[in-house]
């Protein structure tokens, strides 16, 4: 810029003006953002090292909360369940979203209608979704078990009424709800693959399956990476679906980490201890995400 060479005072005045103008735009949002997001975020960090419940006064205890965590059976169960949920939700949603995207990636009249329909579950409310799926999974007369019985399964699972099958039921429900969202991301990714690749492969006599493995999948790698990161974060912080569908039950069979944070912190008022759990949750999400980025980098540099 030509003005950059202007002599001292005028330049200082101009840059001070720019700061004022810039901040005046940002401030209305920033006030709310700082007060209700940044401050609580910083506080969450500090709280994890305090002994504080809703009645007492806060007291610095160092790592005591974390030591307590190690021996807390609820924490073990919640951690295991969260990993279980992630292990089911991440791959199944990814595959379902990719499959949907490939089926819907066609030049046909009216294909947009189908895409819209496939996306819709993602914006239906979780309370409605949970109500519907809880009934679909009804152990005695629910449509899911009727279908299973018709297929010859003599004793179909009791789903949300059983400690072994409640988590699979939750996973199926969440895959159904989320796949439309990731399908949109995959559809966008599919558009970036040059058509010539497919034509060349066809000339070389590659079948549909070969084209999928050798062209579609490798070309979609950036999309898949992005989807994987998003899915991981989403899986580890799962909360509302669990609360409305099973509330952690039966027993503790679907209790997850975020729900334990809610119970300890907001229901029980144990602010310090719950923040320690929240910190663990955050560190897990961060570690997995960073690991994914590292892996992705290594694969991209041969």
């Amino acid at each position: 810029m030509a003005q950059a060479t202007a002599p001292g005072p005028a330049r200082v005045r101009r840059s001070r003006r720019a700061i004022l103008v810039g901040w005046s735009f940002i401030l209305p949002n920033f006030l709310g953002f700082a007060l209700f997001t940044l401050v609580p975020m910083a506080a969450a960090f500090a709280l994890a090292f305090l002994d504080w419940d809703s009645y007492g006064t806060p007291e610095w205890v160092g790592l005591e909360n974390f030591e307590q965590l190690i021996g807390d059976e609820n924490f073990h169960v919640a951690l295991r369940n969260t990993l279980y949920y992630a292990a089911g939700h991440i791959p199944l949603t990814l595959v379902a979203a990719l499959a949907l995207a490939i089926v819907l990636n066609r030049k046909l009249r009216g294909v947009n209608f189908f895409r819209t329909a496939a996306f819709f579950p993602y914006i239906t409310s979780l309370v409605a979704v949970a109500a519907v799926w809880n009934m679909l999974f009804n152990p005695t007369a629910g449509p899911v078990n009727q279908v299973l019985e018709a297929l010859g399964v003599a004793e179909p699972p009791r789903w949300t009424a059983s400690t072994d099958w409640a988590m699979p039921a939750v996973i199926v429900t969440s895959v159904w709800r989320d796949m439309g969202y990731y399908m949109v991301l995959y559809l966008a990714g599919l558009q970036t693959i040059p058509r010539e690749y497919y034509e060349a492969a066809r000339v070389d006599g590659a079948g549909a399956w070969q084209r999928f493995w050798n062209i579609t999948l490798p070309c979609l790698r950036p999309t898949t990476f992005f989807v994987l990161v998003m899915l991981t974060i989403q899986s580890f912080k799962v909360l509302d679906l669990i609360v409305v569908m099973t509330d952690g039950g039966p027993g503790r069979s679907t209790l997850v980490l975020a729900q334990l944070v809610y119970r300890e912190g907001i229901t029980e008022g144990r602010f310090g201890y719950s923040s320690a759990i929240a910190l663990v949750l955050f560190v897990i999400v961060l570690t997995v995400t960073v690991a994914q980025f590292r892996l992705n980098e290594r694969r991209n540099t041969p």
């Binding site: 940002i26 109500a131 409305v244």
Partner: protein, 295 residues
């Protein structure tokens, strides 16, 4: 109907090769439509079941074998439910919160985004990085401190708690900034030379140009507020403040065996979202495609 316009058109359609028989093309199209139809039906089946059950008697919902179409359509369910629960209050509360929060988010978000995208000042990029970084932190990790704050300020069990916590999200700033970055700087520069102030540029040039992005943000915020369960669940205890999600959840818990009525409530809670989605779906998809966020 314009549907998923931005989800672009196509790649490598299985077009018949030049030498193929003409009949093969037709068969292929039919097959492709069958695959589309089957996939979509499978995805929508739970919702079909929801609507169908909403029009049955309670004892018909779990009929064996499954009745996909009710024997007799009980539209009266949709009349009765208004007497069973204060649904109108719930819908009103949900609408109030969703509109207020969407409005504030669009207003403050687009305003701040202009500062981040078009005004150059020291410290700007670091500040924006702080915004972005918070998007990656799960809300679940700091819900307890937020709750303590609201409790101390005696704002729990008021709409204020929900509005204050959700109206100033980083997401809106991020989405709008992405859009403003795509508007050439020359345009602002020309306006500056013409003597327009920064606020004038924002109001007269950026706002009109960014209508699609504003619509995306407004719709995404409206829907996520409407569907939000945990926020109202944590903060709103009085029945007269409940949103439709809380009302429906409590109905499910209280009248467990009234299957049909529960489904009627579920349909009514989803209906407003369906209408909004059908009118504004272009903006939804665009918002998701450009940001890839809000999950």
């Amino acid at each position: 109907m314009t549907t998923l316009q931005d989800a672009p058109q196509t790649v490598a359609p299985p077009e018949p090769s030049p030498g193929a028989r003409p009949g093969a093309g037709v068969a292929r199209t039919v097959l492709a439509y069958a695959a589309l139809g089957a996939a979509t039906l499978l995805v929508l089946l739970p919702l079909v079941w929801m609507v169908s059950s909403a029009l049955k008697r309670d004892n018909e919902v779990f009929a064996i074998p499954v009745e996909w179409i009710p024997r007799e359509f009980r539209w009266s369910n949709f009349v009765e439910i208004w007497d069973r629960v204060p649904l109108l209050t719930y819908l009103g509360n949900s609408a109030f919160l969703s509109v207020t929060i969407a409005f504030l988010q669009v207003l403050t978000g687009s305003f701040a985004a202009y500062g981040f995208a078009k005004v150059r000042f020291p410290g700007r990029d670091a500040l924006f990085l702080a915004y972005i970084a918070t998007i990656a932190v799960p809300w679940q990790a700091y819900m307890v401190p937020q709750y303590i704050m609201m409790q101390r300020a005696e704002l729990t069990n008021t709409f204020w708690s929900i509005i204050l916590l959700q109206a100033f999200g980083a997401f809106g700033v991020f989405l709008m900034r992405q859009y403003y970055m795509s508007i050439p700087d020359d345009l602002c520069e020309a306006a500056r030379i013409d003597g327009l102030s920064e606020y004038g540029i924002y109001r007269r040039i950026m706002l009109p140009l960014s209508k699609p992005a504003l619509a995306s943000l407004a719709l995404l915020t409206f829907v996520s507020t409407w569907n939000d369960y945990m926020g109202p669940f944590i903060y709103l205890t009085s029945n007269e403040l409940w949103t439709v999600q809380l009302g429906l959840r409590s109905f499910v818990g209280q009248y467990e065996a009234e299957y049909a009525m529960i489904m009627t409530g579920a349909v009514l809670s989803v209906l407003p979202i369906l209408v909004i989605f059908l009118f504004g779906q272009r903006y939804f998809i665009r918002g998701i495609a450009t940001s890839g966020l809000k999950g």
